[in-house]
Structure formats: C-alpha cells, structure tokens
Subunit: 215 residues, 2 copies
Amino acid sequence: MDKEISKAVINRLPRYYRYLGELMENKVERISSGDLSKIMRVTASQIRQDLNHFGGFGQQGYGYNVAYLYTEIGRILGLDVVHPMIIVGAGNLGQALANYGDFEKRGFKLVGIFDVNPVLAGITVRGIEIRMVQDLPDFLKSSPVDIAILTLPKNKAAQMADLLVENGIKAIWNFAHLDLDTPEYVIVENVHLSESLMTLSYKLGEYKKSHCGDE
Amino acid sequence: MDKEISKAVINRLPRYYRYLGELMENKVERISSGDLSKIMRVTASQIRQDLNHFGGFGQQGYGYNVAYLYTEIGRILGLDVVHPMIIVGAGNLGQALANYGDFEKRGFKLVGIFDVNPVLAGITVRGIEIRMVQDLPDFLKSSPVDIAILTLPKNKAAQMADLLVENGIKAIWNFAHLDLDTPEYVIVENVHLSESLMTLSYKLGEYKKSHCGDE
C-alpha cells in the first residue's frame, strides 16, 4: 500500500506528524478534517485526500483518531524503529545537533561523534566522546549505523562522504555546502542553510522594492 | 525585469551562485552551458533557459562570463547589500549559527544576540555579548535589523515572533519547530530540521524494504 503514496503526500507527512503530536500533548483524542484544516492552514479536502491514502482513519461525523493517526504516520516515516546515527564533524553545528534532544525522542539515537581535528579528541558531547575519523571504519564494522550526519566544512566533506559510503553508510544527512557525489543507492538529504538564507534575502529585497518604489 | 522571474528559477539561483563561486575560486573565467550542466547535473537547456532570464549573459561559442553572472545573481539575491541580523535564542544552535563565518562574507552581518535565560547574559559569542530579550525593543529602535534568526525552543518562539514583529522585524529565519502565526507581510523562511530528518528516515525505510523484501 505504501508504494502508492505520492512524493508530495510524503513531504507533507512530517508536518501532519508534528501537528498530531501537539494535539496529543493537548489531550485531544479526535479531530475533524475541518478543525485540523484550520490549525494546519490547508484545506479540509486536502487533508481528507492525504489521509485517505492510509485508509479508513476518519469516520463521518466522528473525525480522526489522533493517537492512531499519529502512530500510523510515525510508522510510515520509520519513527517506530531506532535509527543509530553518527555525527561526522564535531564543530559548532555538529555539537549543536548532538545536543538536540528531540531527535532521540523520535528514535534517532546518536551513537558516535567523529572529527578530523586532534584538538577535539576525547572531548565529551552529551556523554559521547569525540573520536578521530581514523577510527571510523572499525567503529562501523562493530556498530550498526543507519545515518551519518555530515557537518564537516565543504573542503573536507566530499572525501568523508566517500569514506562513509565505502564503509557501508546508506544515508547521509548533509549539512556541508556542496552536492555530494555519492552512488545512486545512497540516500542524501541536504540542509543547505546558506541557500535558505539567500532565499529569505531575495524575498526581503522584493518586499523592499514593492514598498519603496525602488526598481 | 526581475518581476518576471518565476519562483522555480529563483529557488535555483542560490545553487547557481554556489557553483559560480566555486568556479571563480578555481580561476575559471568563462564556462559554456554544456560544461556548467555537467558539474551542476542539470540539463544544458535548463541552464540556458534559466540564465536567459537575466538577458544576454551567454554568447554563442564563448560561454558565460563567470564573474559577471556571479555578481548579477548575487545582486538579484540581495547579496550586494549588508543585511544586519540578530539571533534570538543563544542555545547550541544559535551559537553555532553565530559562529558560522560564511554568512558574514555574503553580507549577513550579525549585530546582536538575545536570549531569555539570565544565565547566558553577558557571555560573548564571536565578539557579541548575549543580551536579554527585555532589551530587544530598545535595541531595535536604535539599530536597523533586517533579519531575525529565531532559535528559541518551540514553547517560547511564538510569543517571541509576535514581539519581533511588533518591533518592526520584517523577515524571520525560523528554526523553531512550529509554523509562526505572523502577519502576511512578514517574510518567514523555515528550517525544520526534524522534518528533514524524518524525510531521510522515510527514504531509508523504503530502501530497506526494497532490499530486504519486507513489505
């Protein structure tokens, strides 16, 4: 059944998951597509269409069972299993991500932190000792790792991605500011912060133009 | 002229800007759409179509002038002017972003860091002292700020966004894991890290299914 879900729907699932989680925190047990549509600011028909993909969650005049939908979407997103992760690049961003407790709550379990800089060796972040990348191949042989978070600078990231793939990593969450040249089967999800900021800058420029008459 | 550029083209501009910057670093002065297409992994016709929006950059048998195109795209993205920024939320992520020198190179200049936690008051990050949010309204009256980077936890972010907007902020780069309820004229660019990680998790699940025959 999962195979038939379109990419557009999949991209919307994390947002559904977030809102359903908030409803659960607020002890809401059932919600109509109309009410969900109001808080999520999408049309009720979009919600019905999206959630119908998972079959029979909603009932006329009864609404959606929040906990069931939350669990089911979590399962589809793979949040019902533990994903061991490593961080490669223990600089500011790597350490910030290591300290981000929310990931672990959703099954993303940090099992190792690596860097190339000897100065960082042995420093502990959230109870995990920073190791040198020379130890990475051995580490990956003995510990199952699902996801590598790549937070090294651009000039070191390409080579590191190769090393990760050679040692069996199938999924890379890439924060380095380049497009990785990995085999097709490797899943890469990019977070290009600079590009997000540039988009904001572009929109701000458009706003200023339209409000200051400056073409 | 800018008005006619489609949203899809705009979204691709930061990536062009990045590759052109790399070409400049490598002292490449001209490049054909064919060669640019190879390194960027998009079709040459897509490149020609996109870059034609800016009129007459490429010449048959001569290629694009890298520096000119880089400067021009930078100008369209608003990178030719200085954007004063503040960070609101001086936790791990806020400090990591404060320490990210690349932003400043592109004109995004950090002028203030704020937090709600008195423990952080007076600590200096990259030469900027962390202030308390009570000082924010006065600060914004005396210092022009284009962009507020919101890195507070979710439960504090909504209220803070209201305060920022009340004090004249027009653009928010939002890292808090919620959709901000701001007036329509306020530009919000979201970086929802958890959602990016969930998308990676979903794809990894699909990969494992297709390779382990487990439906």
